[in-house]
Amino acid sequence: MRVVIMGCGRVGARVSVLLDHAGHEVSVIDTDPRAFRRLPPDFKGTTVVGTGIDEDVLRAAGIEAADAFVALTNGDNRNIMASQVARHVFEVPEVVCRIYDPVREDAYRRLGLTTVCPTTTIAAQVLEYVLSAVDHAPSALAAEQ
């Protein structure tokens, strides 16, 4: 599978490496060439310097033949715009977009993007740990009292 990933931060680099090791053809875009230091020396994919909201940069990253596009920069709006370019201009079959703002995530999911919202996911996970700790705590609390 051919995958274009925008944003080579912690998550972007990790997704790139996992896909690369699984034998997929990966190309990573980042505005900062130093971001590619996060990729290991044995990374076989390609790197492209530039912004993913520019169609020419996306083309250079091979978007025209891509099976999937993933937007993982820190900017919600940049991710949203690049994802819509990938979906509507290049008709990439699978487009995944990270959006931190839950309200925006909801709006663009309704518009047909596959969205991931770390804010709601992490909050839910933290809540689960906290609540399960409370569930298990009564005996300890009772002993203290």
Partner: protein, 218 residues
């Protein structure tokens, strides 16, 4: 009419100032609280500080009753999302986005923005129109992303000079809207002669612009 302007750069500042002077009800949204405070001293209580792409800011600014939202920040991606959120969440009827990269104009319209304004394209068109001897000028783009209006100046060398419109094989999705001869504006018919000096005003599919240029110019 209630207008929300998002982005307090130079464009947003003068736009707000002009719209207020024209008597419109205006609200300026600026992300930087210090700048917003400064604008409040200039304009009074028509400035709020906040991120215009956030639904909470749009709600606080009364987007639900706004007639127009104009996004004029320096970042295209922000202007796009501000307008889309205004439409999607608050059903604002008319959204206008400033476009910094001229290539994004078409994309924004495809993505539902009603009007786009590109300073770069605007200046480019002014230059095109003022170059003497430039005989094929893109006049304007309509709201429909694929439709453009063109002015072709016919000269002696033009392949269509001294021919009637009926004799010309126009590309598909192109139509001649008017022929301008001196101060006369003529409704084109198949019998209309095209003479050197005429301006042919054509409406064309964006993709057929080059074909049309080859037909009229050479």
């Amino acid at each position: 009419m209630y207008i929300i302007v998002v982005g307090g750069g130079k464009v947003g500042y003068y736009l707000t100032k002009t719209l207020l002077a024209e008597g419109y009800e205006v609200l300026l949204v600026e992300r930087n609280p210090d700048k917003a405070e400064l604008f409040q001293e200039h304009f009074g209580a028509v400035v709020i500080s906040g991120d215009g792409a956030e639904a909470a800011t749009l709600r606080a600014s009364g987007a639900a009753r706004a007639d127009v939202v104009i996004a004029v920040t320096g970042e295209d991606e922000d202007n796009l999302v501000i307008c889309q959120m205004a439409k999607q969440k608050f059903h604002v009827r008319r959204t206008i986005a400033r476009v910094n990269n001229p290539k994004n104009e078409q994309l924004f319209r495809m993505l539902g923005i009603d009007v786009t304004v590109s300073q770069t394209n605007h200046i480019l068109h002014l230059i095109e129109q003022s170059i003497p001897g430039n005989s094929f000028v893109h006049l304007l783009s309509l709201q429909h992303p694929d439709v453009t209006v063109i002015d072709a100046k016919i000269d002696e060398a033009s392949p269509v000079a001294h021919r009637t419109i009926g004799e010309i094989q126009l590309p598909d999705d192109c139509t001649i809207a008017a022929v301008v001869r001196g101060s006369r504006i003529m409704m084109p018919t198949a019998a209309t002669d095209l003479l050197p000096g005429d301006d042919v005003i054509a409406i064309s599919h964006r993709g057929k612009e080059d074909e049309l240029r080859n037909l009229f110019i050479h």
